[in-house]
Amino acid sequence: MKRNLLHVLSLLVLASMLLAACGPAATEAPAATEAPAAPFEAMKVEAPSCDYGGGMKSIEAVDQYTVKFTLCAPDPAVPAKVAFSSLGIQPSEYLESTGGTGELLEHPIGTGPYMIETWERGNQIVFTRNDNYWGEPAKSKTLVFRWGTESAQRLLELQSGSVDGIDNVGPDDFDTVKNDANLKLFPRQALNVMYIGMTNTFAPFDNELVRQAFAQAVDRQRIVDRFYPPGSEVASHFTPCAIPNGCAGESWYDFNVDAAKALLEQAGYGASNPFPTIKLHYRDVVRGYLPDPSVVAQDIQAQLKENLGVTVEIDVMESGAFIDAANSGSLDGLWLLGWGADFPDVVNFLDAHFSAAAFDSFGKPFADITDNLAQGAQLADEAAREPFYEAANNAIKLHVPMIPVAHGGNAAAYKATVEGAHASPLSTEIFAVMGIPGQDTFVWMQNAEPISLYCADETDGESLRACEQVTEPLLSYAIGGTATETGGVAESYESSADLTEWTFHLRQGVTFHDGSALDANDVVMSYVVQWDAANPLHKGNTGAFEYWTYLFGQFLNAPQ
């Protein structure tokens, strides 16, 4: 009996081993695509007309190394936009072979100084040097991304030497890092904004008087002084002043409790009609614009109780659910959110939030804001744009869709021995230029794990930073700065006089990580899968491709 059982068992083991051996090999490197012998067939995708609502008219490969964009309206920000990391170029053959999702989300193939070696979910991403890089090769042979949500944990890892650089030093740890001779602090310019949102489709914030009252009832200076790290400032406008035309128009309301009380009374609230209890929603996620969310939320709660006698209930939400609710305008009461600059243009702040095409975060849009933004976005000359942004900022102050609170200073920290260390105001650190002499591996620790590595369909800064090491857009931002440079796959570009036609000339002889050569069709394909909602490769991680709509408006063939 026992012997029989043993036989059956060993047969089963054998059978399972056989099955495993006959299955498809688990890891098979994507085959390098041979350079096509056929002559170059230029791709072109064109919208039948500009009536579809987006900003792009056509994208075409003029020849093997030239790409031309035709726009529906003048756009001076095109160079800054095409340098953004969601527009990294990948081989058209690879995009097709993955079907626009699946493997593409884990293994982007770019032209950058690093390529993905492994992504151990929940643990780390290992990048390895691209030895065929067209530019200066990366200093370290291996780059490792790790993550930890707690700032104390990140600092501890840096102090103990297990990582070489960390993001978002805790606001209370700035001095610790400064006083440590082995470490070096790299503050970022405060190119972001934290605001208190109010959705105007929910009572009591459907009343403009109430919104104006709240705009004056919060002591923003106190919040910045007490709860923000050095280098932060009170927001006088939604857009930081370092961005041209960001501060056009009147400064925000002063802190004035009496005026706020008078406005609430005017709105019909008083002893006989007490103000309702409201909610304050936020996510407990540290960002450069909000370094200590719960503390700031509790201070706003205390201030509103003290200044207006309004009871505020705090509602901490899960990050993804909170962002979805904020974007769809379904948060009642107050909510704390912010925005970090993607590219240094005022449209990146104002249009992304208050234009007609923006999300419904704040409820119904205001015509005097949207009209001015639409006109300003079409002009190239900053002086000519000024009147429109002045009017838009004044209208924002009048209607108070939100209360801008702070431009938060934040910092990265590195070991003092790291060469080429920098912190980018756009949070696009380039690790290829960093390294420790005599050390093969460079370890970076950020706040969170990337969501996916197909950044055309990601908005999260932690994902974008990982993509930036691997894929390259047409242009690039200056390392540690905001200027647009020709450090991407295009070596030069020009535009027509009316700023509606932009032509980019690609570098020749650039190869992707899979060995295939870069040509203009790869650029067209990388753009079109984002632009054309009817394209079979328009899939990505969630299919939202949010940054495309931020950058160029509506999708082509958008579902009704």
Binding site: A152, G170, D173, T176, F227, S294, V295, D299, E306
Partner: protein, 315 residues
């Protein structure tokens, strides 16, 4: 003829000792139990008089206090005048927290909250657990089966995970957290009561009551339950400690008490990132939780030994 039956003076004529006096005597012989009771006594006094003892409003920022020095910083370390802190600085025995509130005042009010949490959840669990357990034990059969299998299912989940699941469904908040912890601790009490009822049901005095025509209510609530109380008291005392710990854990995770409520677990959770920069904000709430739980555990252990008749000759 008139006869009077002499009245028996049971208390004086018989040399009887009540269970409680024996227990008290045995309890006071145990040093650890005395230590537990002392801490608990102090905690109860603090909880009752927190509004007199606390120097500041526990939910009020120092920035909102008129005339308070404007140089104040968040997370200031303790300032005690007797230990050399300059007299021109306001005294904060345990320092200030991240929102610039007095940590000492918050800790005192937290004692009130923790005791209420412990007592409320355990009372809730004991009442429901006793009813279910006694019904199961007394009636047996399918009633027993139905009740105890549900209890088994509840026990099959790790209690804190189940509490987290319940709070996730009900929504975060102190009341919901209490409810969740109460629910997950019901099975422990139901089991204890069922066990006692099962054994007491078969005793002679219960059979006597039954043969004298006592109804179910009388037998269960007047004869059986009072005698099943001993293990319940021990289980309850230890259960308070678990309840306080669980609610602190839920609040630490942001599922229990909501800000600005001064709850120890929530205080600990809010400042967990400052463990190196402002250790006082993590140390004191942690210490408070530890001492309270320790006090209930010591008292519970002491009570168990004191109430156990088998250990009567040990001490």
């Amino acid at each position: 003829m008139q006869t009077t039956i002499p009245k028996l003076d049971t208390d004086k004529s018989l040399d009887s000792v009540s269970l409680w006096s024996v227990t008290r005597k045995r309890l006071f012989r145990r040093k650890s139990a005395i230590f537990g009771m002392t801490i608990l006594g102090i905690l109860i006094v603090i909880a009752l008089t927190a509004h007199w003892l606390a120097p500041y409003d526990p939910t009020k920022s120092m920035l909102d206090i008129k005339g308070y020095p404007t140089s104040v910083e968040k997370r200031q370390p303790p300032c005690i005048h007797a230990f050399g802190c300059p007299a021109d600085q306001p005294q904060h025995i345990l320092g200030l927290d991240g929102v610039i509130r007095d940590e000492f005042s918050r800790l005192l009010y937290g004692a009130r909250l923790s005791l209420v949490i412990g007592l409320a959840t355990v009372t809730f669990a004991i009442v429901i657990g006793t009813v279910l357990g006694s019904l199961a034990g007394y009636f047996g059969g399918w009633v027993d089966n139905a009740i105890m299998r549900v209890m088994d299912v509840l026990l099959a989940f790790p209690s804190l995970l189940l509490a987290i699941a319940i709070v996730t469904v009900l929504g975060p908040g102190l009341i919901n957290a209490l409810l969740a912890i109460g629910i997950v601790s019901i099975p422990a009490y139901a089991r204890v009561v069922r066990g006692s009822v099962l054994s007491i049901r078969e005793t002679d005095y219960v059979s006597a009551t039954r043969s004298l025509g006592g109804n179910t209510y009388e037998i269960l609530f007047k004869r059986i339950l009072p005698n099943a109380l001993t293990p319940l008291i021990v289980q309850g005392t230890l259960g308070i400690a678990t309840a306080i710990l669980d609610s602190a854990a839920l609040s630490f995770l942001g599922l229990g008490a909501q800000p600005p409520t001064p709850e120890w677990g929530a205080m600990l959770g809010a400042e967990r990132n400052q463990v190196f920069t402002a250790p006082h904000l993590v140390f004191y709430p942690g210490l408070a939780i530890m001492l309270t739980v320790l006090a209930f555990n010591l008292l519970g252990d002491g009570l168990r030994d004191a109430l156990d008749p088998r250990l009567a000759h040990v001490s």
